[in-house]
């Protein structure tokens, strides 16, 4: 691997994280069906559907949940193409690759014999692989739809009002905020290093450079935590974490919550 590709692939990863976050924030601010509901309803509703998908053992039931998720995404102004690019192809590439050998090695009734390759496809293997891929696709799509339709701050507020400890919620919020600052810092360090490179780096030099960048990032993180802490003290932080949760449930939210939970219960019952 060339030195350009090793730095550039890291930079590409940073850019992808930024663009994902940007797309999420934009989608969450659009009007749509899921966006109408209180964030707590969205979190509880979507997570109950995820749990029903994991509990379900039937192909048809998971397919129905997947279809409903796609309809929900469309009604929430999410592009099916972006879901396909962001979730379906990625999951298919990863889980599909993992599940593929199961089609051949799982013992059971053979349905296709590939004599040229000395392989056979078994019915339990095919069913098991298809079930795994469909279940993972559906669960990942549901989580993505939730994230794309809900700003991160609202997800955290919803988690807090669902009794997650305030300290954990604050740490999640602070981490999310500073992740992007540290990505930006690391991005700048790699870019400035790349702009000063005229020759080829040897393997040990590449490793030293990566470790040094990571080390500097660690020192900066600790320094930043000192500064953030002093800033918190200056604003009167006394050790107690207070998170403002000003959500109010309306009739529509109760209806939405009932619909989500009933659907999840029916899916779990049918798929048992």
């Amino acid at each position: 691997m060339s030195q350009e590709s090793f730095i550039e692939s890291t930079l590409r990863g940073f850019t992808k994280a930024f663009s994902k976050a940007l797309i999420s924030e934009q989608a969450a601010s659009q009007p749509g069906l899921l966006q109408c509901f209180d964030p707590r309803v969205r979190v509880v509703g979507v997570l109950s559907l995820v749990i029903s998908v994991v509990l379900s053992r039937k192909f048809a039931v998971i397919t129905v949940v997947m279809v409903l998720t796609i309809l929900l995404a469309t009604a929430s102004r999410l592009s099916v193409r972006s879901l396909a690019r962001r979730v379906w192809f990625v999951v298919l590439g990863f889980t599909g690759l993992i599940a593929l050998p199961a089609v051949f090695i799982t013992p059971g009734r053979r349905i296709v014999l590939l004599s040229a390759l000395h392989l056979s496809i078994s019915a339990p293997g095919l069913r098991s692989a298809a079930l795994l891929v469909l279940r993972v696709e559906t669960a990942a799509t549901l989580t993505t739809v939730l994230v794309l339709c809900t700003p991160w701050a609202h997800i955290l507020k919803a988690l807090r009002s669902l009794r997650m400890p305030a300290e954990i919620v604050t740490m999640l919020a602070m981490t999310h905020r500073y992740v992007f600052l540290l990505i930006e810092t690391a991005n700048q360090m790699f870019e400035s290093r790349q702009s000063r490179m005229v020759g080829k780096l040897t393997g040990p030099d590449k490793r030293r450079m990566t470790a040094r960048t990571a080390g500097v990032l660690l020192s900066k993180s600790v320094e930043l935590s000192h500064e953030v802490y002093l800033a918190m003290l200056s604003r009167g932080f006394d050790g107690e974490v207070r998170v403002l949760t000003d959500f109010r449930l309306k009739v529509l939210d109760y209806l939405g919550l009932t619909a989500f939970v009933c659907f999840a219960c029916v899916a779990t019952w049918m798929g048992r």
Binding site: P101, T106, R135, V179, G203, A214, L218, Y229, G239
Partner: protein, 359 residues
Amino acid sequence: MHIPDGYLSPSTCVTLYAFAASGWYSALKRVRRLLATRMIPLISLFAAFSFVIMMFNVPLPGGTTGHALGVTVAAIVLGPSGSILAVSIALTIQALFFGDGGVTTLGANCLNMAIVGSVVAYGVYRLIAGRSEVGARRRALAAAIAGYISINVAALFTAFELGIQPTLFHDASGTPLYAPYPLHVAIPAMMIGHLTFAGLAEAVISAGMVSYLQSSDIGLFRGIGDVSSLPTAAKSVESAPPLRLWWIVGFLMLCTPLGILAAGTAWGEWSSADLANPTMRARIEAASGNHAPPSSVPAGLQKLSAIWTAPFPGYAPRFVKSATFGYVLSAMFGVGLFVLAAIVTTRITRRPRKQESRS
């Protein structure tokens, strides 16, 4: 190593969440005691750092690249408790916000990478580094070995969790319902990648960062006590009285008669009387994949089973007629013994309290 939703059965997810929760609880308690009000920004920034480190492409010998977890450096600088929290927070954001790893499998992922990874990395590092100088080369070597071993132990845990799925969760026709590969396939498949690439990436980044910190920021090696040397807020967080815990323990004790609902004997917990009883033998055979138990009670089992007779056999004291009351009484007796043991241990190990206030 990030397990997505759908690979693990719900019961596995719940069990691993319970294990992870106990790890989070003890880590949070310890870090809160050490850092007090300083905890939130330090752990948050470390979590953000761990997140970014996971995105680094680490060049490896042979020309390829791999991704590290950064758990070893977090464990060295923050200690295992701080590292457990920081890496867990990073994994939570990855799962919730970036879809890397599942929501139902978050407990499993945190257990494998944050808890097992941190504890193993810290243990191996301390063992090899010993009392060597902070700037000694031995520390970089210790970090490399700790990184390599911790990632591989975490991967082994992951492989085990995935590998038990087809044995435990399949339908009537034998079709696996979750991860489809048994242990003899899952373990080699997972370990080959980690023994070669991922473990090496963690070793390279850990050793490299320790070397860098030794030359440029040696203060970070003094650990959590040193990085928390800023003034603390006026009101430090005190641990809440364990009243709620007592309510939970009481509730669980009242729930113990639920055990009566479970039919039969747990697999492998048969007594010599069970092995001699034809009805029980038929049940044991059915539960063991139609493998018949030995025709007579094994001599060793017969001999050893007579050594100790429990005061409350089968959670039913002989002097109590009601099975439900017997269960509750057994629970009270068991909890009482634990409380007594805890009080005695605390008395024995109690040390004079150090002055904790910092200016």
